[in-house]
Amino acid sequence: MSHDHDHNHDHDHDRTFQPDHPEPTSEAARVGLALRELLLEAGHYTRAEEAAMISRMQGASPDNGARLVARAWTDPAFKARLLDNGSDAITELGFDLRPAEFTVMENDDQEHNVIVCTLCSCYPRALLGMSPSWYKSRSYRSRLVREPRTVLAEFGVELSDDVHVRVHDSTAELRYMVLPQQPAGTEDWSEDRLRALVTRDSLIGTQRTLTATDTDADGAPFP
């Protein structure tokens, strides 16, 4: 970024968040920027560490969850470890959410799991990327714990009366992911092919049924 212009201003370009980032205009944004500068000056973390963290967060996507699901479907021992201690199991694939406790809830014929955070919008973001906007909405957060079957029906999830609906309110230090059911007829599919079937919403529990539509036999990456 060029610093050779000489107009008078009271900000310091070296301290702006990113070269193309607009100057903060709201009071809250200024406080946030000031806090970040103080943390850097006090040595709590370095600019390089910050950049690496931003890069890692931006690189997270539901495809990471799809990898875990496809591995669990094809490797029963991994699935057992994932359900028993998700935090440890995902380190096998190079992921790490600690000190948060990564917790996986498995759907089956008798049970449907769905995730919400009523207090804010907790989500395993460093693994799955940004949560969908509806996940953060007041409507989803307040209604899912109150009338889960109605909300799930609005998402197109059909549940018979004998299915146990488990709503998980992510209130503290756990971060959740649903392990959806493997579609029938895909038992001999490769991990890569299976991975392409897994959707973001199925990892949250607002989608129950995955479809064994083979769009790319080579295993297309997550869209």
Binding site: E147, P148, R149, V163, H164, V167, E173, L174
Partner: protein, 101 residues
């Protein structure tokens, strides 16, 4: 992380035990939603030791405190619940918010 250093490894409650969530309203940030306060449930699992949200507001979150998952029948939370009797709500609650039921 230093704030999560265990101060006690002994969990006061065990999986399967009935507990009641305190109905109190501290004037600081805490992580117990109002709709579960005062309700009884069953410990679904014992989780790890973590910093207390109330103490992070003014300090370091110490002492590290045991976290639990508590399972509550939906029909108990909401008297007019329209779903099925088997449906449950599961929530994370720190040990100092629980008492035997």
């Amino acid at each position: 992380m230093s704030h999560a250093e265990p101060t006690s490894t002994q969990a006061r409650f065990q999986a399967g035990q009935r507990v009641r969530i305190h109905d109190r309203h501290p004037g600081v940030h805490h992580r117990v939603p109002r709709y579960v306060k005062g309700h009884e449930g069953v410990v679904e699992r014992v989780c790890g030791l973590h910093g207390q949200p109330e103490r992070f507001v003014r300090g370091d979150g110490l002492p590290a405190t045991r976290l639990y998952r508590v399972c509550i029948p939906q029909s108990q939370l909401w008297p007019d619940y329209q779903g099925q009797a088997c449906d449950t709500l599961e929530v994370e609650v720190f040990e100092h918010w629980l008492e035997p039921a």
